[in-house]
Every structure is written in structure tokens, then in C-alpha cells.
């Protein structure tokens, strides 16, 4: 076995607020190996890799590079020693161009020489992005590529990727994997973090599993199985799934739901919806569909193809032309509060942008959008705090949200619990139509499963659900019908039964069905 490039020994991390994220972790990275890092939300994966890449100091423990103990005080020092990291949340400057962002990462000016070498790098890796586009205009997948290019444009011996595939299409994921294999061949040590077991099994050589800040297992990939990994992660057998793996989609009781749909009026009818794009042009170019009660209509597609704009236009957060009728009533241009009164709930894709006010308490967040409902609104707009707390308590109980308290700021909740809070709040609006955008992004298996079950349950209660997700598996698993979105239009609308991953990939890539 080759000498490890890097060894982390006895790493303990206590955050300033007292959260113990790592409790003595040993970890090593070897050349020419892809090392999977697995664990539930909050297990400490990001924390560990941030320490290795110099972004955070460990509270205790030490890091050895080539056998020598080192102190990495900043990412700059880590980069200088060949440690590069692609972060879970993009570390890109939005209004910089791609080239400027890469320049930032390389410490070189954004000049012609850099452009040439980046072009060469893109050629070599197959990761292509428009160099002069501002990052904010890029699709998420493209941003991910920028992140990787940024790191690769420095000579790295250790490459850490924190959930890089959560925003990629299957095709893009495959491309990335191909590229990682090549890097591995060049002797680079790679750490790969993901929540998708399938990917772990496919790409890694070795897997380390973290649970609650401790290493609970380290196995060679070829000697393990999805079940074993899952068991290590959660510390017990996964509870039986409420749905089946994609491969077995055929026996979804479709007939039942089609029966519901016949003779039923659609609740939401969208006709020729057009939404202008921020940089000019149209992001949504004339989309029409109908949404029936008791069904989940999935919208699959690579992010950045107009899904965001589509959802925001329907939900009153963005202007659009055309028509969207909720039970016959035109809703385009109505303010969000009015939409909620009409029975529309919106689980936004970006929980930090729209979903939550991070500095507000859990209780305060639990009524966002409902603050003017008669339950909470007293005379002279006095807020009935008692009712608000009662409501928040209900949500916490009903959706098993783990929160330090009703008056804790929302930012102190873990990602999964933040999402549960949003979902719970939206569902407490008792909607007929739920627009759910990326409802499980970044959640661990348990939390994601919970949300998916909720959505299925809602459907079975007869609600209409529009599910937008970049996770193809998820869309295929949950939806009764699937639409594929590409550059602002639907390329195909079909049922999952008539699909396989290849076809789906093609539709997502722009082929019309």
C-alpha cells in the first residue's frame, strides 16, 4: 500500500457555539485512490474536509503531510501544499466572470496567458464553460465545473470534492467520473463526498463512514454493499422504503391515479407561460401544462434551464406573460399572499434565499407568509404570540423537527431540519396545490426519505403537486407524469413507466420526445 499523502490524526472540532462536530477522527488520503466519505447530514464530513483544506483550525489533533506535521492556517497555505477543495456550497464570486473566478483561485491576473492555460485545461478535462460569462448567469452544473476548474488550474496533489454531483445531470456526473479516474491515474489523491450510495459504489476505491463526528467504519469499496454502507451511516438498518427502486417502476399503481384524474378538472392550468431572463431574452419560452388533483407532475432537467423562473413566475415572485389559472382564476401577477389564500403552497428551491429568515427564530419562521392569517393577527395588527408558539410547537411535533427551542434562530438548525420546518410551514397552509422545488436537495437519506413520503402522502390525499428536482431518480420515483425541461421549454412529457435513465438523459439534454 502506498504511503499516504496526508494523514489526519485525532481530529476534534468544537465550533465556537459549542457544537462538537468531530470527536477524534483519523483519516488518510492516498495517492492514486478515490476515497469516499459518507455520512448523514451533520456527521462532520464538511467539517473534516474544511480542516484538511486549511479553512478551519482543528480544536485538537494534527495533520501530517508526507509524514511531516503541518499547520495549515489558511486555504492559501493548503493550496500551496497542493491541497485543493471543491466546496459543497459554491465558493464563487457571483458577479465575476468565470475567468476572474479562476484567476482568483490561481492568484494570477485574469489575462491572456491565464485564458490560454484554462482553455488548455478545459480541453484536457472535458469540463467546458464560457469563460467570459458572469458566474451568476451560469447554470448550477456549469458552476460546479467552474469550481473544479478553479482547483485544477492549480497543481493539486490532493483533491477534495464535497457533494459535487448533487447538482449534476447523469451525463455530467459520468463525465466527471471519467475525469476523476484520469486524475487518479496521474497519482492524485481524491476525497469524494456524496449522499448517493450508487455513486460511492461506482467511483470510489475505499469508503470512510462518519457518524456524529466519529469514524464508524472504513471499508474497501469492492468488499462492501449499499446495504452495509447505509447501515453504518445510520447505525441501524434502513427502515423499509415506502417506494421501490427505479428499476421496478413498472408496478406503480398508475391505474388508480388515472382513474382519479378522468373526469376531474385540472386545478392548475398553465398556458404559454413566458418569463424573461435576468440577462435579457427569455428563460421560459412558452410552457403549457395542466396539473390535476391527486397527481405529482415532476419536472426534470438540468438546473438552469428555466425551472427556477417557471416556479417563481407561478408563485408570484417574478413577472411573466401568458396565463396560469388556479381553479379557473388567473394568478399571474398576484402577490404571494393572495396565492396562498387561493390554496397554493411553495417549497422554494433555495431555502436560505426564500424559505427562511435565518436570523429569525423558529417560531417566527413558522408563520412566514401566514403572518396575516386570522389565527395570528389580532386587532391593530398585534401579533398573537401565544398562537404563534402553539403553531410552531405543532409543526415541530408533527414533522419531527429537531430544534434547540422555539426561540432558537433558524440558522442553528441543521439543513434537514431547516427544510422540514419549511415544508411543515407550507403544508400547514392546507394547500390544494404544492409547488415543491428541489425539496430534498442536500438532505441525507433519512431526511430526504421523510420529505418524499410526505409528498406521496399528500398526493394520496388528493392534492396536486408540481415537483421540480434536479435529482432524476427522485423525479422518476415520485412522479405520476414527468416533464423534461430544456432551455425554457418542455422536451417531453411522459410517464415514468415509459422511461429509462438513458432516454431521460437524452430528454434532459434537449432531444424532443
Amino acid at each position: 500500500m502506498p504511503e499516504p499523502l496526508l494523514k489526519a490524526e485525532g481530529i476534534v472540532k468544537v465550533y465556537p457555539d459549542g457544537t462538537v462536530a468531530l470527536r477524534g477522527v483519523d483519516f488518510d488520503i492516498r495517492p492514486g485512490e478515490i476515497q469516499g466519505l459518507l455520512g448523514e447530514n451533520g456527521a462532520g464530513k464538511t467539517t473534516l474536509t474544511k480542516i484538511i483544506s486549511g479553512l478551519l483550525p482543528p480544536t485538537l489533533g494534527r495533520i501530517l503531510l508526507g509524514g511531516e506535521p503541518v499547520r495549515l492556517r489558511s486555504p492559501k497555505e493548503a493550496l500551496a501544499r497542493g491541497i485543493g477543495m471543491v466546496h459543497q456550497h459554491f465558493a464563487l464570486v457571483d458577479d465575476f466572470t468565470v475567468l476572474e473566478n479562476i484567476a482568483l483561485g490561481t492568484g494570477r491576473p485574469a489575462d491572456r496567458a491565464l485564458r490560454a492555460s484554462v482553455a488548455e485545461l478545459m480541453e484536457r478535462t472535458g469540463l467546458r464553460v464560457p469563460l467570459d460569462a458572469p458566474v451568476e448567469n451560469l447554470a448550477v452544473g456549469e458552476r460546479q465545473r467552474v469550481e473544479i476548474l478553479k482547483v485544477l488550474s492549480r497543481a493539486v496533489r490532493i483533491l477534495i470534492l464535497d457533494e459535487p454531483t448533487s447538482v449534476l445531470t447523469p451525463v455530467e456526473t459520468d463525465e466527471l467520473f471519467g475525469f476523476l479516474r484520469r486524475l487518479k491515474g496521474e497519482g492524485v489523491g481524491i476525497v469524494f463526498i456524496t449522499h448517493k450510495l450508487r455513486e460511492v459504489l461506482e467511483i470510489t476505491d475505499r469508503v470512510t463512514v462518519l457518524r456524529r463526528g466519529e469514524v464508524v467504519g472504513e471499508v474497501l469499496t469492492r468488499e462492501t454493499s449499499a446495504e452495509e454502507l447505509a447501515r453504518m451511516m445510520v447505525g441501524a438498518e434502513l427502515r423499509p422504503r415506502g417506494r421501490r427502486p427505479v428499476e421496478l417502476l413498472t408496478d406503480i399503481p398508475r391505474e388508480r391515479r388515472e382513474a382519479v384524474r378522468t373526469g376531474v378538472e385540472p386545478v392548475l392550468v398553465v398556458e404559454d407561460l413566458r418569463v424573461p431572463a435576468e440577462g435579457g431574452g427569455e428563460a421560459v419560452k412558452g410552457i403549457s401544462f395542466e396539473l390535476y388533483p391527486g397527481e405529482i407532475l415532476g419536472i426534470a432537467g438540468v438546473e438552469g434551464n428555466g425551472q427556477t423562473e417557471l416556479v417563481e413566475a407561478i408563485c408570484g415572485l417574478r413577472g411573466g406573460r401568458g396565463s396560469a389559472r388556479l381553479r379557473g382564476r388567473e394568478i399571474l401577477g398576484l402577490p404571494p399572499l393572495e396565492l396562498y389564500r387561493l390554496g397554493l403552497a411553495h417549497i422554494p428551491e433555495d431555502r436560505w434565499k426564500y424559505g427562511l429568515i435565518l436570523s429569525f427564530t423558529v417560531a417566527e419562521n413558522s408563520i412566514l407568509g401566514r403572518q396575516r392569517s386570522p389565527r395570528f393577527l389580532g386587532p391593530l395588527t398585534v401579533l398573537r404570540w401565544g398562537e404563534v408558539f402553539a403553531h410552531a410547537r405543532e409543526l415541530i411535533a408533527r414533522f419531527s423537527i429537531q430544534a434547540p427551542g422555539l426561540e432558537a434562530p433558524a440558522k442553528s438548525l441543521s439543513g434537514g431540519n431547516q427544510q422540514k420546518l419549511i415544508v411543515g410551514r407550507e403544508l400547514s397552509k392546507e394547500p390544494d396545490v404544492v409547488i415543491a422545488a428541489q425539496p430534498t436537495r442536500g438532505l441525507d437519506i433519512g431526511a430526504a426519505e421523510y420529505i418524499r413520503d410526505l409528498l406521496l402522502g399528500l398526493r394520496d390525499e388528493g392534492k396536486a403537486i408540481l415537483l421540480v428536482s434536479a435529482d432524476l431518480d427522485e423525479v422518476l420515483e415520485l412522479s405520476d407524469r414527468v416533464a423534461f425541461m430544456y432551455e425554457g421549454t418542455f422536451t417531453a412529457v411522459t410517464t415514468p413507466a415509459e422511461l429509462d435513465r438513458e432516454r431521460a438523459g437524452l430528454y434532459m439534454g434537449g432531444m424532443r420526445g
Binding site: V12, P16, P57, T59, L60, G61, R62, C315, L317, P335, P336, L337, Y340, H346, P348, K353, Y354, G355, L356, I357, L358, S359, F360, E364, L368, G369, Q371, R372, F376, L377, L380, T381, V382, L383, W385, G405, E407, A408
Partner: protein, 354 residues
Amino acid sequence: MRRLRATLRAVAESILAAAIGLVVAGFILKAWGYSPISAYIALFEASFRDLYGIAGALANATPLILTALTFAVAARAGLFNIGAEGQMYFGALAAVAASLFRLPPGLHLLVALAFAGAAGVLWSLVPSVLRATRGVSEVISTIMFNWIGRYLAFWLVANVLVDPYRAEKTITVLPGSRFPTLVPGTDLSYAIFLAVAVALLVYFLLWHTVTGYEMRAAGANPDAARYGGVRSAGVIVLVFLLGGITAGLAGATQSLGRPPTYAVYSGLPQISNLGFDGIGVAMIGRNHPLGIIFAAVFYGGLQSGARVMQLFAGIPLEMVRVVQGVIVLALALPELLRIFRILRRRRVELGGER
């Protein structure tokens, strides 16, 4: 419980900051050959020991509470409204203008206050509309409006409200619309109750009404607020409205409730800078109405202490300003306690490496 602890920590930090500021300033005083001990004795004797001193601190605090609220309400809603200065001028003048006609005492005061609030609102209208409709930064519009307001106020004092017999000031406010003096022999009037009541009202508004909830939401996360059905234009207008009222009232407390003048002088010497000082007070009070009350009393105490330091310790006013500056600078480090804690943790960390 959690809230209480956070509050206590904030208070402790502010006190620590003030203490550090005093120590550093003490060295400066010493360096210039003044005795810091007698200076500080004078300072605290003067401002906080007896009723006379406390009354002085409170009298100074009165307008500062109100102008600080102008800034704080806006800051809570994500706006940077520094227009209190100009709005306050018109509040003061409008309160004087109410004495152009006669009304029964008491009612007259209410009318004068209404005038003042309305005038403050009027002067905040344009920046508010520009911001709400054209997106013009309130920073620039309020700075400009402060200056414009200054000159217009000059004009009003010298030409419109001018006292025909004493052209250096406006007509004098009629006794029936004055705030009675609260502590005889001091310049503390009942206006302090107005200021505190408004602060409590603002507190209630921000944390116990849906309107306040929406304002804070707009400030904390404008996107989420929009998602939650909060109309930003509405919030902007409301913030400026409230800010205008509080700033206007701040002006009124000076022209109606500060003996002996009960008028506004040419050049606005007794009201200039109260709006700007209010920003400092709001920051020290962490943009929280209750914090602001304490911060204003502290600041007011420093001001009245400054007078007495000249008298008893012979320290020139300029030096006192230096001391004030240092104290405020110390207050700028909001997490002093945290810094101490980090130092402690460093030690742990180093110990662990061995």
C-alpha cells in the same frame, strides 16, 4: 431564557467596552497632563450621582432616544436612513409654528406635537418615495435632504417664523404648548416620558405586531420577506413614516421642552447634530428600542459630564470629545467578551498540540 442570556451578554459587553474606553482615555488624559481620576470623578458625580446630574443626563437623552429610533427602525428593516437630522429640524420648527395660533393649554401641546410629527414625515417623504419607486439609495437622498433641510430651516427661522423683535430666533413657543419642567432647577422636562413612551411603542410595534414582523423580515431577508407576502415598497414608506415621526418629535422636544429657549435660533445651534448623534446612540443600543434608551442616557451622561469636567477638572471640552471618541471606539468592538473567550480557547488549542 435564551433571550435573557443574550441580553445580559449584550449589556455586559457594552459596560466592558465603556470601561475599556474610559481606561484608554484615562491614559490619554494622563499623557496630556490632566488627572484622569479627578476627571472621572467629575464626570460621574456630575451625571449620575444626584438628581440634578441624572436630570441633566436624561434631558440630553430625550432627543437622542427619538432620533436613534429613526435610524434603528430603518436599520431593522434593512434601510440606512440617516435623514433624522433634517427631519428633526422641521419637527422643531413645526412645533414652534403651532404657536402662531392660540389653543387651550395641553391641547396646544398635542397639536404642536402633531405638527412636528407631520413635518418630520413630510421631510422624509421624498427620500422614501424615491427609494420605493426609483430605487434611489436612501443614503444619498437623506444626506442631500439633510443639507437642503438645513438651509430651508435657516430661511424659515430668518424669514417666516422670525421673532419680529429678536431676529436671531423664531417666535417663542406659547407656554400652553410647552412641556412642563419635570425637575425644577434643571432642564429636564416631561418630554422624557414622550421619548421613552415612543421607544416602548416602537418596541411593541417591532416585536408584537404583524407590521413589525414584516418590517423586520424585510430587513433580515428581503427575498424571504417578498416570498412571505411582504411588500417592500410598503415597508419602505412605513419605515420613513415612522422615522419621520420620531425625528419630528425629537425636534419638538427641543423647541417645546428644553428651557430656557422655547424657540429655534438662527444657525440651529441647539438642534444641530442631534440626528447624527442619534445614529451613534442607535448603534450603541444595537438598534433595539430598549437598548437605545440606555445608550441615550449613557451618551447624555457623557455630554453633561463633559461640561462638568471643564468646570471641576479643568479639562477642555476638546479633550472631553477625544475621550468620548475613544469610548465610542471601544464600543465598536461588539464582541469584546468573545475576544477574551477566543484567547482562552487558543490556549486550549496549543495545549492540545503537545
